[in-house]
Amino acid sequence: MSLITEKDFGTPASVATETVTLTIDGQAVTVPAGASIMRAAGQMGTQIPKLCATDMLDAFGSCRLCLVEIEGRAGTPASCTTPVANGMVVATQTPKLAKLRKGVMELYISDHPLDCLTCAANGDCELQDMAGAVGLREVRYGYQGHNHLNAATDASNPYFTYDPAKCIVCSRCVRACEDVQGTFALTIAGRGFGSRVSPGQSELFLGSECVSCGACVQACPTATLTETKVIEIGQPEHSAITTCAYCGVGCTFKAEMRGEELVRMVPYKDGKANRGHSCVKGRFAWGYATHRERVLEPMIRASTDDPWTVVSWDEAISHTASEFRRIQAKYGKDSVGGITSSRCTNEETFLVQKLIRAAFHNNNVDTCARVCHSPTGYGLKTTFGASAGTQDFDSVEHCDVMLVMGANPTDAHPVFASRMKKRLRQGAKLIVIDPRRIDLVRSAHIRADHHLALKPGTNVAMLDAIAHVIVTEGLVNETYVRERCDLEDFQHWAAFVARPENSPEALEAVTGVAAQSVRAAARLYATGGNAAIYYGLGVTEHSQGSTTVMAIANLAMATGNIGRPGVGVNPLRGQNNVQGACDMGSFPHELSGYRHISDEGARNLFGADWGVTLDADPGLRIPNMLDAAIEGEFKGIYIQGEDILQSDPNTKHVAAGLAAMECVVVQDLFLNETANLAHVFLPGSTFLEKDGTFTNAERRIQRVRRVMSPRNGYADWEVTQMLARALGYPMDYQHPSQIMDEIARLTPSFAGVSYDRLDALGSIQWPCNETAPEGTPLMHMERFVRGLGRFVVTEYVPTDEKVGPRFPLLLTTGRILSQYNVGAQTRRTENAAWHEEDLLEIHPHDAEERGVKSGDWVKLASRAGETALRAKITDRVAPGVVYTTFHHPLTQANVITTDFSDWATNCPEYKVTAVQVSRGNGPVDWQISYAEKASRSRRIEATS
């Protein structure tokens, strides 16, 4: 393997369709109009020296190395800022230019340390390269003059250091922070010779507004901003292209290695989801892979009171198989099941559900999408006919109005949020529907046109009110509806939303949002040009989650905002492969490609291929499995890569369910909270250690490539395969590509997918088949997948979870940028620097009423349970609403959440819990004992 290097064309590609022909160094070249001379030269293989230019950023023209001469023009214009013109004759190499470039470089080096040989960037430094390229041999100014060589290094950020002594003030970092990331945390302080890059008000990076996305480090052409790991380990020597294992954006990275050691993850410019950008998690937070707490050997125990016993893989697998066989023999074949992981690859997920259907002989398989986006699947399948988002991420570049509902992209989908923010800075309008003032509502250079801060639990009422305005004010796109949708359904729906009780005025008391704001937002959405809806778990995780998704779909159809760039309905998927896990048939009622298990044709296709007869009835969903366990009818579970004890609602109930089982098998990287109640622990492998594919929120199937051997010995798919064999079901895959071949064979929407094609195309958005051999970036272009779009009446039904005197506040939950889900990975990285504990956000009014000050311990109680955490007083939340994250097991926000769930899919109602907040003295009793219990449960018996 060698190090993959990407060519830097210096300036971004021009999107113009017309072309221009010019002559560079005597050679004719044809490029799109609007391209820079530098890019045109690069296209024909001529690298004009440059330092401040990079194709991730607009031309800046400051370094003055890329000067050229143009016939008939005075002076020596910069090739980065000069656009091509027809007939232009350019010389990039003349004695005059050579002298100028050398003169400029001489100035640079006169204020730069002469420590190349001991510099971390040695060999990967554009300044070094350019000094060589221009042939600089001496610096005649000497080194006695003014300089910055003694400027202090800032190592406050755990992942990179800032050494101003090496800075050449090219502003690439500042521009990257602004243009690419959209945070504007950096500036140049001072002017002239005194100019220096400054985070915040000339302060340390860690204390500044920096979100540690790494764009500045990526942009830096010298060792000024360098990954700490590069300083520690040295320059990488080989790399592979792979896909991030954090959120549903699915960023492509180059994993850069030195031997078997990962040096850094570098965002890949050709990654179609991230386009060369990254966030603090994907870019830096991969240290968990080698964290000392990672468990690398299988373990078993008879009782959860016992310590763990380390065993061989053979023993662990045969023990597990015999336990499942014993349980099925005793309690019936339906007494066991399993959970596939949205963190694992498509191939692994497919294999787990196959194991359950073919080797357990039942359909008791579910996945963590149950607790996040199952309503998306149901809602979009019902209305459009396909359980997935309609657009690709690039589509946002054509969007005129963004409606963001129940999503917090800058924290949860930061890389896509940066693209949203860029489009917003270009002038797109923004409507935010969220109880909390998320950053998108107001942050540097971004201001929502409308923030509808509704009461938690009233999403459907809000969308009905918006629909009411659209229908009653004549804003429906009637042509679209007539051509593309079922007219009868539409009329039925229109009559429903037009009812007076659905008017913004009538619903004001329900949503808590002023009617005129709702009307203004509705008008903007319906008439502002290309309008796109982006939503997250604030939509789905409700008792009316599926209804809300359908209400969203209704709005998009009514206004004709489906089927072209810039519009659509876009669920922002939480985990890296939640889309894939759903696609792969992880739900108890569906086979891969969303075919119902009752569909005989589909069932027989699988049955024939797998050599088994499949059960025609749906199996149990996660909450149903837990209920059945408590009932004594469900006794064994295989959980791959999910920590249901921490992530699923009503922790007490989950714990009771698990405790009632006889064999709980957890396959994970760490002894997670669920493992405290497990009997078998099978070590999992990280995404760095295996081959496979992930599917992101835009249905994009992307390769995961193994860059190091599994530290635990086996990739997860191999473990599942061993388990299947031990259960007597033959599986004999040599490589995940063979699993993908099987998926393609059995799944019409994946028919054209193979590793060869993925390697050739980089990525593929399903459906990919004969009619769309290169995939489908935008869905429902000519017609809906189901034929005519279907409008569904969405009546607002208040949740049963209601505030009252005992629990007067509403709790809603979410995540923050530096942490991911239950925090199992991110807490085991330096990301802890940004989020040491979960905090309870409470409005100043509610805090004052309770005598709570910022930083105080508060007790948070619901009818499900209570916990304690520290308070943060902020008006981000409205009075009556409190908010927290669920990243820390010692807080366990899900102790508080209830078992109310979506009517259609049982997706839990995480986002609405009636609570009381009172002053506390510290952790409550269970929190104190939990730590002790957990560590007891994690004892590992010394091997004799």
């Binding site: 002017r191 400054s198 107001r442 971004i446």
Partner: protein, 154 residues
């Protein structure tokens, strides 16, 4: 910042923030009100303008006019540009330094007096010229210069 200072700042922001490109006018007014740009004012200015602290800081540090520390009570800004040089402003500078006991570009230890360079006041046919706080003075030689020194020290 004290409560009344915050109120002053907020009043400026409320009045000015909606203007296009409002940052410079705001910084001028803040400096007029406080004598300098207090560090703690920057986050509030940033918030009002939908900017970051970094952006405001970058602007504050770019322009020579904006101070980050309180000014001396009396600031004499002596023109050091060519037209005044041609009228022997070097001698004026030397006399000022010596007469005031302050070096150019510095303030007296008690913070009462500062002598700063400025580059052109547009009084180029009447040099050497200076601004004493807000008041222009020109033909700064001889008796006029001595009067300036005496008044400054008074």
């Amino acid at each position: 910042m004290r409560d009344e200072e915050i109120a002053t700042l907020q009043a400026i922001l409320a009045d000015q923030a909606a203007r296009p490109g409002a940052l410079l006018p705001i910084l001028h007014q803040v400096q007029h009100a406080f004598g300098f740009i207090p560090k703690d004012a920057v986050p509030q200015i940033a918030l009002a303008l939908n900017l970051t602290r970094a952006e405001v800081h970058g602007v504050v540090t770019f322009y020579a006019d904006f101070r980050q520390t309180p000014p001396a009570r009396k600031v004499i800004k002596l023109c050091r540009a060519e037209a005044c040089q041609a009228r022997d402003s070097d001698a004026t500078a030397a006399r000022l330094e010596q007469g005031l006991g302050v070096t150019l570009g510095a303030a007296s230890a008690d913070g009462s007096l500062a002598l700063e360079p400025i580059y052109c006041l547009g009084l180029c046919a009447s040099g050497p010229a200076a601004l004493v706080n807000e008041t222009p003075v020109a033909r700064l030689t001889g008796e006029r210069l001595e009067r300036l020194i005496a008044e400054a020290l008074a």
